[in-house]
Symmetry: C2
Subunit: 403 residues, 2 copies
Amino acid sequence: MNSFHPISKILMGPGPSDVPVRILEAMARPTIGHLDPQFIDLMDEIKALLRYAFQTEYTLTFPVSAPGSAGMETCFVNLVEPGDSVIVCVNGVFGTRMVENVTRAGGKAIVVNDEWGQPVDPQKVEEVLHTHPKAKTLAFVHAETSTGVLSDAKTLCALAQAHGCLTIVDAVTSLGGVPVKVDEWGVDAIYSGTQKCLSVPPGLSPISFGPRAIAVLEARKTPVQSWFLDLSLVMNYWQGARSNSERQHRDSAEEKSARSNSERQHRDSATKNPARSYHHTAPINAMYALHEGLLMLREEGLDAAFARHQTCHEHLRDGLEALGFSFLVDKAYRLPQLNTVCIPTGVSDEAAIRKALLEKHNLEIGAGLGALAGKAWRIGLMGASASRGNVDKCLGALKEELG
Amino acid sequence: MNSFHPISKILMGPGPSDVPVRILEAMARPTIGHLDPQFIDLMDEIKALLRYAFQTEYTLTFPVSAPGSAGMETCFVNLVEPGDSVIVCVNGVFGTRMVENVTRAGGKAIVVNDEWGQPVDPQKVEEVLHTHPKAKTLAFVHAETSTGVLSDAKTLCALAQAHGCLTIVDAVTSLGGVPVKVDEWGVDAIYSGTQKCLSVPPGLSPISFGPRAIAVLEARKTPVQSWFLDLSLVMNYWQGARSNSERQHRDSAEEKSARSNSERQHRDSATKNPARSYHHTAPINAMYALHEGLLMLREEGLDAAFARHQTCHEHLRDGLEALGFSFLVDKAYRLPQLNTVCIPTGVSDEAAIRKALLEKHNLEIGAGLGALAGKAWRIGLMGASASRGNVDKCLGALKEELG
């Protein structure tokens, strides 16, 4: 065995996406300790940058030290207690995974099904909210990675609030690619991944919890079943240990100033923070990469990033349609960053085409997942992968391989 | 905010340890997909290299996609069902954490306490095994990171086997620093971390499960409470999905040949593996780093690595004793890689000394944890940190700061 030198691939699947050299370089900086004041300052900057990405003032906003699936589990194990009813919208693989999470946390999942390729239907959700007045939480996937469908998070959150339900939102594929407005929509708990539209290597899951979610966490009658994901412990590392009311009050003042002022002032404010207590050893170098990726997002600006994803999508769409592809998803709720196309009827061995793209053209596209396996391809335009050059390469390679 | 350029530190705390440039460079190679055949081959190599580090033929040997605490939780949530009795040996912080894990998995923890700074007492364990014949599992920490104590894993495993108990062993700080002989000792389930004696950045937790542990997993009456850590699902990604008996049989033949033959043959064997099914997106670049760190361990050889840790320890010990330090732990069961010393009575502000070491000398040592906070320091010599140069720098800096 030798050192691993992978042949570089253009990543146009459902994630990971292309990681810019600038982010890879940041990841390779010297590892320091997880309680080093330099690292504590970095954690504070990551929190501030994530609040920008999520468009929120929520102070409990930080990356869970594991991939997106663990971010999902963080939301469910902290907010669901045995016996709780949770309405879960299922229109693809990740809604199904939410049901698993509810059940394993001892909750009862009330499932609202929509067809794969369709968004969550708010009318169905409203009916279920009416017929299940004791449901505590509404959970749904904002951008279904298995189908490429965007659901109307704003409307769904408003419905949940009208019925006194918390919301848990999966933004793994949406964050950084289409608007995610946590505060404006009143999302209570949300999780994402790093390896989609943030273009950071996989391994961390940014989450954000609002005051209603924290109140539910603090009012729990049973301990959180996971020690590793128990936010009542993890937050002592990410925020410092203090009384709850004090935490709520001081953080919002401190962190607002941290965001608007210079780095020097920020550092001063950080030193006033109470001591961070050890919970687990954070993935130090992965945090360097996330910090750099979030800086790049802020430099580009959210609106510019969304526009870039949309423009590339339109270019790809035109090219794919010219090649005879049809989209699984209606354009009204199609994700620009994840294009699910039906495999043409003339293609007898779709896996062979994907293999040729990967091996001859060094270009990865995604297979269909779950019910769509063998029937659809998923072409990602996420983060740095959303470039005109990538679109052209992808169209050229597909044209060649499809003959 | 700007890109993060940390001031590099010599890491002589309880982990993370110094990460060699070679490993940082590996981590910065281009991100590829988690189902790319290149990555599947890398996974197979990591499994083979981990079997070398753990000294085992167990086929279910791979890194969990999260830090050591998640490796601990993987062992407990998969092997403990509600109502199970688990004997847990507590002689420091991490034994206490094991109790938390047992309780949160619905099990009943039967605690065997030993003083902090003492090893687990096999005689006490034997008595408890006698008085609790229905106990299903014995769990203990091989190398307690909070105290620097090595317990006698061989004897404890033999006792457990004599009483028909499974063993769960914490090898977070021992792996790569002192012998860990999974097969010879008959360990059933073991977990470690990357950021200690492997000198790889934190973020992954190597684990190994033997046939008795897998049988317990397969005989479960209740689902594993964590979806993310459910080995019955995760193993489909790391081993490929097949029937259980087929898996046991074929893996052992396949993987033995992979270990003894050339890389090319290994690749051939890998292509014969059944398809790996997606579970979660693995932390790709963290795996590059682990692969490189394990290669370096194999190049040096386990015995040479153990000898290096021991030699550096003796040099440090002599220097510390000359400075008037006494060790918390008797030399009979002292970890060479983690030196816990009592803070001299003349030191009024121990935190100020550690701060001076970190800021003036760019050298990190560890504070006391839990009951030892303020009373002890933990000086790590783990992995690449175990060098004569580091020992000399540490002794010089301590001498200067203690006046």
